[in-house]
C-alpha cells in the first residue's frame, strides 16, 4: 500500500544553493560526475556538431607549465607532417600518441612584450610566466609585479560552473585544480622574501592582481579533494552496487531489444550500449575516489626534496587523473618547479647522470643565460661559461623537456581511463622559448587532443613567423601568432565557442583558426 505522508521536497531544490565552496560528500561526487561540463552541454544540445569537423568539445583541460623554455633546436619539428616524418627529439616519448599530437611552433607570448613595469624590458623574460595564460601585461603594485588575470583555467572553470547552474546541475567541486610551486628557489616557504621571483612567476591567476593559490604538490591536492568526504567506503560501495545492478540489467535489456531490431537500427543501439559501458567505467572510477596510494609523503612535499621529483611529478599526474575521472574538476594546471628542480631528478637518472656529470643544477639557470653564441641584452650571468659547458646546458634543457614528455606519457596519458583520455586536451608549454635569450617569442607549445574531441588538427605541426632560435626578436614583417589566440582556441575546444578573447582584447580576438580540424 502507499504511504500516507506528503511529498518530499526535491533534493535538487535543496541543493541549489550550494556552490563549489561548500562541503562536498561522495554522493555529490557521484552526482557531479561531469554531466554539466561545457562539453557535455554542447554535445547534448548540438550533437550535429559531432558529425562535423568542429567536434563536440573536450571535457577536461590539463595545462602543464614548464618555466624557462627549452632548447628550441631539438624541440622544433622539421616537417609539418608528424605522422609521416616523425616527432622531434624532445617529443619522441609521445610517439604512441603521434596522431593526437599538435606542435605549435611560432606562438608569441604577446602580452609579455608590453610589460609596463619600470625597468622591465619590452620582451619580458620571466614576466612571461604570468602573461602567458592571462593574456595581460604585468603591473607593478608596490614592490610586486602582478597580472590583470584571470588565466584561462580560471575563465573556463567559471564558465563550467555557470553552465551547471543554468542546467540546474551540481557544479564540479573544484573550479580549477592547480598544483605546483610558483615560487623561486629562495622563497618556497617564505613568499615575501625580497628579490624572489614569486610575484611574476605563477602561470595561474584567479583574478586581476590575484594569483591562484597553488596546491603545493600532490599530497595537498589530494587532501583538498578528498579529505572532507562524508560517506563511508562501505556506503560508497553499496551505492555503486546499486548502480552496477541497474546498468547490468540495462545492458542485458539492450541485448534483448537489439535482437528484435532490424539490422539498420542495431548500430544505434550499439552506440547506446557503448555509452553505457563508458558510464560503467566512469562509475567504477568514481569508486576509486577512495584515496589512491600516491606514494609521496607530506614531508617530501613540504621540504620540496629534489631527490623525489620523479615521484612528485608522477603522483601529481595520478591526482589529476583521479580528479578528471571522478568529475572533481574539468580544468587542471600543473606548474613544474623551475627547471633547476626538475634537473636534479634528471641528473640523478642513470640514463642521464653520466652525460651531465659536469652540470650543477643550481647553476643551470645562470648557465642558460649564456647559451646562445651571440646572446642579447639579457645575457650576462654565464658569459664566462666555456662553450662546451654551454652546449651541455642546452642539451640538458632539451632532455628536461623530453623527460617531462615521457612522464606525461607514462604517468598520465597511459594511466587515465579511456573515457577521460578520449575527451581531454593536455597542453605542455613554457613562457619563453630559450632560457639563454629569455625570449617570449616563439614559445614551445605541445598539445595532446583525445580521439573524440575533434577540435584541433592533430598529427601535425604548424609554424609561423621568421623566428631564429638565436635571435631575441622576430622580423616585424614575418610575425608569429599571438598566444592570446591559443587561449581562445582552448576555450573553443572546451565547447565555449562564444568566448571571443581571453585577457586584453587589444592583443587579439578569436581563435587560431588555422589549427582547427
Amino acid at each position: 500500500m502507499r504511504k500516507g505522508q506528503g511529498k518530499v521536497r526535491s533534493t535538487v531544490a535543496r541543493r541549489s544553493g550550494e556552490g563549489p565552496s561548500g562541503r562536498w560528500g561522495r554522493r555529490d561526487f557521484l552526482r557531479a560526475s561531469g554531466v554539466c561540463s561545457g562539453a557535455a552541454l554542447l554535445s547534448g544540445l548540438l550533437p550535429t556538431l559531432r558529425a562535423s569537423a568542429a567536434g563536440p568539445g573536450a571535457q577536461n583541460l590539463f595545462i602543464i607549465g614548464a618555466a624557462q623554455g627549452t632548447d628550441m633546436t631539438t624541440w622544433r619539428p622539421e616537417s609539418p607532417d608528424l605522422v609521416t616524418d616523425g616527432l622531434p627529439y624532445q617529443h619522441e616519448p609521445l610517439q604512441d600518441y603521434l596522431q593526437n599530437i599538435l606542435i605549435l611552433d611560432g606562438i608569441d607570448n604577446i602580452s609579455a612584450f608590453t610589460a609596463d613595469s619600470e625597468g622591465m624590458p619590452p620582451n619580458g623574460g620571466h614576466e612571461g610566466t604570468g602573461a602567458l595564460l592571462t593574456g595581460t601585461t604585468v603591473r607593478r603594485v608596490g614592490d610586486r609585479e602582478v597580472y590583470n588575470g584571470p588565466s584561462v583555467d580560471e575563465v573556463l572553470g567559471r564558465r563550467i560552473e555557470q553552465r551547471c547552474v543554468e542546467l540546474g546541475e551540481t557544479p564540479p567541486p573544484i573550479r580549477a585544480l592547480r598544483i605546483g610551486r610558483a615560487k623561486g628557489i629562495a622563497d618556497e616557504n617564505a613568499p615575501d622574501v625580497p628579490g624572489s621571483l614569486a610575484s611574476y612567476s605563477s602561470f595561474f591567476w584567479q583574478d586581476p592582481l590575484v594569483s591562484a593559490p597553488l596546491l603545493w604538490g600532490p599530497w595537498f591536492a589530494y587532501e583538498a579533494m578528498f579529505a572532507n568526504l562524508g560517506v563511508s567506503e562501505d556506503e560508497l560501495r553499496r551505492l555503486r552496487a546499486k548502480q552496477r545492478s541497474v546498468l547490468d540489467a540495462l545492458t542485458g535489456e539492450l541485448g534483448r531489444v537489439r535482437g528484435e531490431l532490424v539490422v539498420e537500427d542495431r548500430e544505434r543501439l550499439d552506440a547506446h550500449l557503448d555509452g553505457i559501458r563508458d558510464l560503467e567505467q566512469k562509475l567504477d572510477n568514481i569508486l576509486e575516489c577512495v584515496p589512491p596510494d600516491i606514494g609521496v609523503s607530506p614531508e617530501h612535499i613540504g621540504q620540496w626534496s629534489s631527490t623525489h621529483m620523479d615521484e612528485v611529478v608522477m603522483a601529481t599526474f595520478q591526482v589529476v587523473n583521479t580528479a578528471f575521472a571522478c568529475g572533481v574538476t574539468h580544468v587542471a594546471g600543473y606548474q613544474l618547479r623551475r627547471q633547476e628542480g626538475v634537473a636534479d631528478e634528471l641528473l640523478a637518472d642513470p640514463d642521464y647522470a653520466e652525460r651531465y656529470a659536469g652540470i650543477d643544477s643550481m647553476d643551470l639557470h645562470g648557465q642558460a643565460h649564456s647559451m646562445p653564441a651571440g646572446c642579447g641584452s639579457n645575457c650576462g650571468a654565464g658569459d664566462d661559461v666555456p662553450e662546451e659547458q654551454r652546449a651541455l646546458a642546452r642539451q640538458c634543457f632539451a632532455d628536461l623537456w623530453r623527460w617531462t614528455a615521457s612522464r606525461i606519457k607514462t604517468g598520465f596519458l597511459d594511466a587515465v581511463p579511456d573515457y577521460v583520455r578520449d575527451n581531454m586536451i593536455v597542453v605542455h608549454l613554457s613562457e619563453m622559448s630559450e632560457g639563454g635569450t629569455h625570449s617570449n617569442y616563439n614559445v614551445p607549445v605541445t598539445v595532446f587532443q583525445g580521439d573524440d574531441v575533434g577540435y584541433f588538427e592533430t598529427g601535425r605541426a604548424f609554424k609561423w613567423g621568421g623566428f631564429d632560435v638565436f635571435e631575441n626578436f622576430r622580423p616585424s614583417d614575418d610575425p608569429g601568432q599571438p598566444s592570446t589566440k591559443l587561449l581562445v582556441s582552448l576555450c573553443h575546444a572546451m565547447g565555449f565557442d562564444d568566448i571571443e578573447h581571453v585577457g586584453d582584447p587589444s592583443f587579439s580576438t578569436g581563435p587560431l583558426s588555422e589549427v582547427m580540424a
Binding site: 500500500m1 502507499r2 504511504k3 500516507g4 505522508q5 511529498k7 518530499v8 526535491s10 533534493t11 535538487v12 552526482r31 560526475s33 561531469g34 554531466v35 562539453a39 557535455a40 554535445s43 547534448g44 544540445l45 548540438l46 550533437p47 550535429t48 559531432r50 558529425a51 563536440p56 542546467l167 540546474g168 546541475e169 562501505d234 560501495r237 553499496r238 552496487a241 546499486k242 548502480q243 545492478s245 541497474v246 546498468l247 540489467a249 540495462l250 542485458g252 535489456e253 539492450l254 531489444v257 528484435e260 531490431l261 532490424v262 539498420e264 537500427d265 548500430e267 544505434r268 543501439l269 552506440a271 547506446h272 557503448d274 555509452g275 553505457i276 563508458d278 558510464l279 566512469k282 573515457y419
Partner: protein
C-alpha cells in the same frame, strides 16, 4: 535603449548571418527568382506524382518501391519523455526534475533526435533516471513489495508504449532484490522500487521509439504494426504513450488501414490532449520557443524604461499565443483563422498593455480580445510573443521578422552570407525602416534583402515590445508598413499579411511541409514530396483545415511504412 542595443548586437549579427546577402560569389537566395512563389526547401515541386497507396509497399511514379523517405530509429523528443512520465505517474511526476532531461538534438526547425545517443547523452539519461526515480519513490510512497509490483505492472506498458511482456516485468521486479553488498545494511521496499524505476527510466524501450514493423514485398520497407502505429500517433499528437483505448483499437486492427488510421487521428485531434501538438508545433513554427531567452533580456532596466510594463507581461504574451493556437486547433483548425482571426486571448494585464478592451473570460482565465475594428491586429502574427521573439534592436527589426517569415512560414532557404561581410553602421537620425533600407541597399546585400525587407517591413507598426503604433514616436513620422510577398502580392501591415498568407500557395505548401517535419519527426527528402503534395491538396479541399493536413500525413505511407536507412 543603449543597453538593449549592446545586448542585442550578437543576435543581430547572427540573424543577418542567417542568410541575408547576395554573396560576392554571385550566389542567389533560393527563392530570389521564384516569383511564382514555389516552395524551395528541398521540394521537387512536383504535384503530379502520386504517393503509394493501399496496404502494401506500393510503387509510385518516379520512385522505386515506396516513395517515403528513410526513417531511422530515434530517441523520443524531450517533450515526449516528459509527457509519457507525466502520463505514467500523474501527480507524483510533479516532483520529477524535468530540467535534467537532455535537450533535443535537431538542428532543424523542430526538435528531434536524428543522431545516435553518444556517451554524454547516455550519461545524462542515467543521471536523470536516478534522480527522477528517487523523487517518484518518495511521492508514490509504496511501503511493501506488493504495492511496488502493482506499480510496475501499471507503469511499464505506459513507459514502453506497448503491452508489458511478463519477462520484462519479472526482470524489473528482480531489481527489488537486496544486493549482496547490502547484507547487514538497511534495504527497504523503497530501495527496490528506486532500482526498478531507475532502470525503467533509462531503458531503451522507454527512451526510443522502436518500430520493428512487419515485412513487405520490398525488403527495404517495413509496415508498422498496429501497436507501433498507436505509439507513433500518441507521441505525435499527444506527447504520450498510447492509451488503453488506443491499444485496444490497435489490437482490433483499426490501425491497419489508411482509412482506419485517418479515423483514429481525427478522433485524437478532437481530444484535449492534442493541445500538445498545437503548442509543440506552433512554438517552433512561430519561433517563440526561444521567447524565454528574449524575455530574459527584457528584464533589463533600460528595456523596462523603453517599454514600460513589458517585463511584467512577457509570460502572458507566451500564454496568449498558446491559448490562441490551441483554440484554433480545437475549433476547426482553420489556417485562415490562424493568420487572420479577429480575436485573441489575453490576461487583463496584457490587454491593458495592448490598450485593448476585454471580453468574456475563457476556461484558462484569459479574456477574449475582440480585434475587429482594431487597427493592425489580426491573427497570430500580431501577437506580442511572435513580434517580440523576432525583434531585438529596433533598427534591425525588419531583418529578424523578414527572415522568420521567409524561413518558417514560406520555406525559403537563404544562403549563408559571405564570410567577409561588413555590417554597416546604423545611420543616425533615421526611422527604423529608412535606416535599415539604407543599410541594406548595396548590391552585396540586395540579393537576400529584396526578399527579407519587404516581408519584415510588414510588421513595422510593432516595436520590440509588441506595441502597435502608426507613428514612429521618436521621429514623429508615419510608419510605412507596406511590403510584398514573394508571390508579388502587395500588402500592408500584419492584418493584411495574415489574410494574404492564408490564401497564399507558398505558405500553404510550406505549412504542409512543416507539419510533415513535426509529426513524422524527420526532414522530408524528394521522395516525400508526393505526400506533402497530397497534404496540401487536402488542405485546399478541406477549406484550409490544418487538422486534415495532419490526418493526411499520419495516415499516409510516409507514416505507416518505414523505409529502412540504406548504407
Amino acid at each position: 535603449m543603449s543597453a538593449l542595443r549592446s545586448l542585442c548586437v550578437l543576435s543581430v549579427l547572427s540573424a543577418l548571418a542567417a542568410g541575408c546577402y547576395q554573396g560576392v560569389d554571385g550566389s542567389e537566395p533560393a527563392a530570389a527568382g521564384t516569383e511564382s512563389g514555389d516552395v524551395t526547401a528541398g521540394s521537387s515541386g512536383g504535384a503530379d506524382t502520386e504517393p503509394g497507396g493501399g496496404d502494401d509497399a506500393g510503387s509510385i511514379d518516379g520512385c522505386e518501391g515506396t516513395c517515403a523517405g528513410e526513417a531511422p530509429m530515434q530517441l523520443m523528443r524531450r517533450s515526449q519523455v516528459i509527457g509519457v512520465i507525466r502520463q505514467a505517474f500523474g501527480a507524483a511526476a510533479d516532483e520529477v526534475p524535468f530540467n535534467l532531461v537532455p535537450a533535443d538534438a535537431s538542428s532543424g526547425l523542430f526538435p528531434a533526435n536524428y543522431l545516435p545517443a553518444d556517451a554524454t547523452r547516455v550519461e545524462a539519461y542515467h543521471s536523470f533516471a536516478e534522480r527522477a526515480a528517487a523523487e517518484l519513490v518518495r511521492a508514490i510512497g509504496c511501503d511493501d513489495e506488493l504495492c511496488v509490483e502493482d506499480e510496475v505492472r501499471r507503469v511499464l506498458p505506459i513507459l514502453f508504449k506497448r503491452e508489458a511482456i511478463e519477462e520484462d516485468v519479472q526482470i524489473y521486479l528482480g531489481q527489488m532484490a537486496r544486493p549482496q553488498e547490502y547484507d547487514g545494511a538497511s534495504w527497504t521496499a523503497d530501495d527496490g522500487f528506486g532500482q526498478v524505476l531507475t532502470l525503467a527510466l533509462q531503458s531503451p524501450q522507454f527512451l526510443y521509439r522502436i518500430e520493428v514493423g512487419e515485412e513487405t514485398d520490398d525488403p527495404a520497407v517495413r509496415r508498422l504494426s498496429g501497436h507501433e502505429m498507436a505509439a507513433r500517433l500518441a507521441l505525435a499528437l499527444w506527447n504520450q504513450s498510447p492509451s488503453a483505448e488506443l491499444r485496444a483499437l490497435a489490437a482490433e486492427g483499426a490501425l491497419d488501414t489508411e482509412e482506419g488510421v485517418a479515423d483514429v487521428v481525427r478522433d485524437m485531434l478532437a481530444d484535449p490532449r492534442a493541445d500538445a501538438l498545437a503548442i509543440g508545433f506552433f512554438e517552433s513554427y512561430l519561433g517563440i520557443d526561444h521567447f524565454g531567452e528574449h524575455a530574459r533580456y527584457l528584464d533589463g532596466a533600460a528595456v523596462a524604461e523603453d517599454y514600460p510594463g513589458l517585463p511584467e507581461v512577457a509570460a502572458d504574451m507566451q500564454a496568449e499565443t498558446e491559448a490562441f493556437v490551441t483554440h484554433v486547433m480545437r475549433s476547426g483548425s482553420s489556417m485562415r483563422e490562424l493568420f487572420a482571426a479577429d480575436y485573441s486571448f489575453a490576461s487583463e494585464a496584457l490587454a491593458t498593455y495592448y490598450g485593448l478592451p476585454t471580453g468574456p473570460v475563457n476556461e484558462e482565465g484569459l479574456y477574449r480580445l475582440e480585434l475587429s475594428g482594431t487597427p493592425g491586429r489580426a491573427g497570430v502574427l500580431s501577437h506580442g510573443a511572435v513580434v517580440g521573439a523576432h525583434t531585438t534592436i529596433e533598427p534591425y527589426r525588419a531583418a529578424h521578422r523578414g527572415t522568420f517569415l521567409a524561413k518558417n512560414v514560406l520555406c525559403i532557404e537563404l544562403p549563408p552570407p559571405p564570410a567577409d561581410i561588413v555590417i554597416p553602421d546604423i545611420p543616425v537620425g533615421l526611422p527604423p525602416r529608412e535606416a535599415f533600407e539604407q543599410m541594406t541597399d548595396s548590391q552585396t546585400c540586395a540579393g537576400c534583402h529584396n526578399i527579407i525587407n519587404p516581408l519584415g517591413f510588414l510588421f513595422e507598426n510593432f516595436d520590440a515590445g509588441g506595441r502597435y503604433a502608426e507613428i514612429y514616436p521618436e521621429f514623429d513620422t508615419a510608419v510605412d508598413a507596406s511590403g510584398r510577398l514573394p508571390s508579388g502580392d502587395d500588402v500592408e501591415g500584419v492584418a493584411e499579411l495574415g489574410a494574404a498568407l492564408a490564401e497564399n500557395e507558398q505558405a500553404q505548401r510550406c505549412m504542409a511541409r512543416r507539419l510533415f517535419e513535426f509529426t513524422l519527426e524527420r526532414t522530408p527528402n524528394d521522395r516525400d514530396d508526393a505526400y506533402i503534395d497530397d497534404a496540401y491538396e487536402r488542405l485546399l479541399a478541406s477549406d484550409l483545415n490544418l487538422g486534415e493536413v495532419v490526418v493526411s500525413l499520419l495516415s499516409s505511407d510516409a507514416s505507416r511504412l518505414r523505409v529502412l536507412p540504406q548504407e
